[in-house]
Amino acid sequence: MKLMHTDALIIGGGLAGQRAAIGVRRRGLDALILSLVPARRSHSVAAQGGMQASLGHCAKGEGDNEDVHFEDTVRGSDWGCDQIVARMFAHMAPKAAREMAAWGVPWNRVRRGEHQVVINGEHVSLVERDAAHGLITARDFGGTRKWRTCHTSDGTGHALLYAVSDRVIAESIPVHDRKEALALILDGGRCHGAVVRDLVSGELAAYLAGATVIATGGYGRIYGVSTNALINEGMGAALALETGVARLGNMEAVQFHPTAIVPAGILVTEGCRGDGGLLKDVDGYRFMPDYEPDKKELASRDVVSRRMAEHMRRGKGVRSPYGEHLWLDITGLGADHIDRNLREVKDICQYFLGIDPARDYIPVRPTQHYSMGGVRTDHSGQSPWLAGLFSCGEAACWDMHGFNRLGGNSLAETLVAGMLVGESVADYCASAEAEAGCPTALAREFLEREQAELAAIASGRGNEEAVTLRRRMETVMTDSVGLFRNGPALAAAVDELADLLRRSRHLGMRCRRLDANPELVQAYRLPRMLKVALTVALGALRRTESRGAHFREDFPARDDRHWLNRTLASWRPGDELPTLDYEVLDVMHMELPPGFRGYGVKNIIDHPLTAARQSEVDELREARLDRHALQSHLMAFKQFLPERYRGRNARLDEPLP
């Protein structure tokens, strides 16, 4: 049996995983990164528009700070997030942006003086302060009150991932790429690492670690059309789920991005609308102001996506051989702006659509984009049920996004979570708890179990075809667990997915090789994907309210009275369906008590304690404390941060004391 030892085993080579690994390494411990693909091919690279950090340098960002960012994030989540985590995040985001600046990210910078922008379809002139010249600038994104999205043109994910992976190389952190974790090795309630398959040779090995971190990104590929990379198949969520111990949070919270191109489903950044792009219908009419007169195209993503679908349902969509779509019009921004700030968008339009976005409208429609749900962790990033198992980034439900993530908050989260979870992983590795090593016999048992299972799958002579089942799963998820959901369709979806899961155990294989064999990979991933899909569908069926991206046509109200909670999904061995339970969000500890997001018509069933908490908060606010003191009275959070990250963030208007 091949055995590998390390302090921290990081599963996933995207931004969150790599940043966490660096944190562990800098504490003098060994970290090892596993990745399905060369780490720089990870899906983080595809993030375009930017990351939110309340630096407040640019003219439209003046007055921004952690408080505003926090509130935007909580509102964006439709009060579904963990407010302490949102606070930790808003506090950390500027530090993350600054660390990246020092590590080499070529952030776009403020240029002093006057410049032209497009706001709400109009050309507007802005003047940037002299004092801000050369500091990191920001662009507008949906659902935010300030221009807060720091960016490098529209290749922000690329620039960040390369800067971080450069550091990984500089610090000699091993990356074992083209390797896949098949199962976690656990001893009751303690995780000891993973059984890992080499995707080239097919060889299995046991990687034993003090702490194991799942940083595998989202599960978008359970849907037929997704902006996600092909590798985002939810295998991290499945790893945790299959332990039978760890739990997943809010799996039904799935985000649909308003602007993916048709038919390829490739994302064009929210920065298009942030920079002044408009959504238009079949008649070339700008429809968003009719639905959301206030934020228009720059409402929260869940809202814009639903409004687009609603408008298409009214017959205003553009018909095409690939179904209906709408138009994204960025022609008003001018070729020069597009060449400098929306280069990837231009490339995508040119190569996949054969159009020039400076002259032509871009065909778009809402498409699966982000997984708010994931491996449920506490504030430190650790699973409350499985010691030694951590998770960060999109793979985790740490829970700063609740039921809808703001654009630009995902890149920021990957770095912030990587910074924080890296520290807590290092703390854990140094603790007495982590010292209990894994008995080799246990590792052997897990490895042999996986080996036997693979051999059984490879020799499968059943009459089912993995491709067929997978396509069916994708269709069910797209049709019934999409933007608009309802009870009967969801119930049927759960039944069919459960049936697909049964059928997936009877696959017939054509290629029986155990080394690099794409058919084998598809075959063993399929049941895992179906299990993940079932947690999504069942969670959506049971949650009889509408919150953020989870919209039930039969329950359109946000029901704080019954559903101000977080769904937890686990899978008991031998079961046909996941087991769901719920974790209450405590209104009395919220810094920002539940309220109205300001989109559409107010349709909220209030929590009985909301009013009480609101008056507590109002009372404190009237005490006229400085904002830091007020905040710490409302909801103290700094005790959850490592000491090194507790300091305040400097701004031009708020220099460090």
Binding site: A46, R98, N108, R109, L135, P321, Y351, P518
Partner: protein, 240 residues
């Protein structure tokens, strides 16, 4: 009227001693907007589940899917079949370790190159993350980003005559990285330091200016400019 496409695809499993490299033919009806990603996925799903190839983002940004398309390196995911004749040959990128069929280990090559060239920002001190970031001229930041856009897809190495003859040549990808850090004021290294890693015939002086890299770069990076600039700076080191 849709065309019928004939694919000639390289097949080989280097881990099987009995397996002889060969090309295998596949036939597929073209659909509107079909890319090589769609075509290869369909071939795998409908005709040959054992066919190995690499796609990750399928959007032209991650650099995984470079291969020889009718002899020339390019990103398969964003190549429309409509832009090709009906006979399409697909071969793995030369110059990299073969994993199987169209899949090559560019990741391993790139990591080794980064380690050899010490291709990371060498900063003076760890950042003070609470304080205002160091200022940078907006134009300079844009220029650095221009060079930072490389996706390490390997097309420049596969398109380089020198790299095809000399396995130790760093390729345009390596020289572009050095140019990128050289331009970046945050990097404390001097030209003498850069000379240590690219100042020989496996580095910038090995480049024969055949421009394959420049002409084939999917991101259209200004590689000619950068290599010429780097060559001048490194040559200057040799003058005293």
């Amino acid at each position: 009227m849709s065309r019928s496409l004939n694919f000639a695809i390289f097949r080989h499993n280097p881990r099987d001693p009995a397996d002889v490299p060969r090309t295998q033919e596949y036939r597929l009806d073209e659909t509107p907007g079909m890319t090589l990603f769609i075509a290869l996925t369909r071939i795998r799903e409908e005709q040959d589940p054992s066919l190995n190839f690499d796609f990750v983002c399928r959007a032209g940004v991650c650099g995984s899917c470079a291969m020889l398309i009718n002899g020339r390196p390019g990103l398969a995911c964003r190549t429309l079949t409509a832009s090709l004749p009906p006979d399409i040959s697909l071969f793995p990128l030369p110059g990299f370790e073969l994993i199987g069929d169209l899949s090559v280990n560019t990741g391993k090559w790139m990591r080794a190159m980064s380690e050899r060239l010490r291709a990371w920002l060498h900063f003076e001190a760890e950042p003070e993350v609470d304080a205002l970031e160091a200022r940078m001229e907006p134009e300079l930041a844009e220029q650095v980003y221009e060079l930072d856009r490389c996706t390490e897809c390997g097309c420049c190495v596969a398109g380089c005559g020198t790299a095809q003859m000399r396995a130790d040549f760093v390729g345009a990808v390596g020289m572009n990285k050095i140019a990128r850090f050289r331009l970046d004021p945050r990097d404390v290294r001097s030209d003498a330091d850069f000379y240590e890693v690219v100042g020989d015939d496996s580095g910038v002086f090995g480049c024969m200016s055949l421009l394959g890299c420049h002409d084939l770069c999917p991101k259209r990076l200004p590689l000619q400019t950068q290599i010429a600039y780097l060559r001048r700076s490194m040559a200057r080191q040799g003058l005293w």
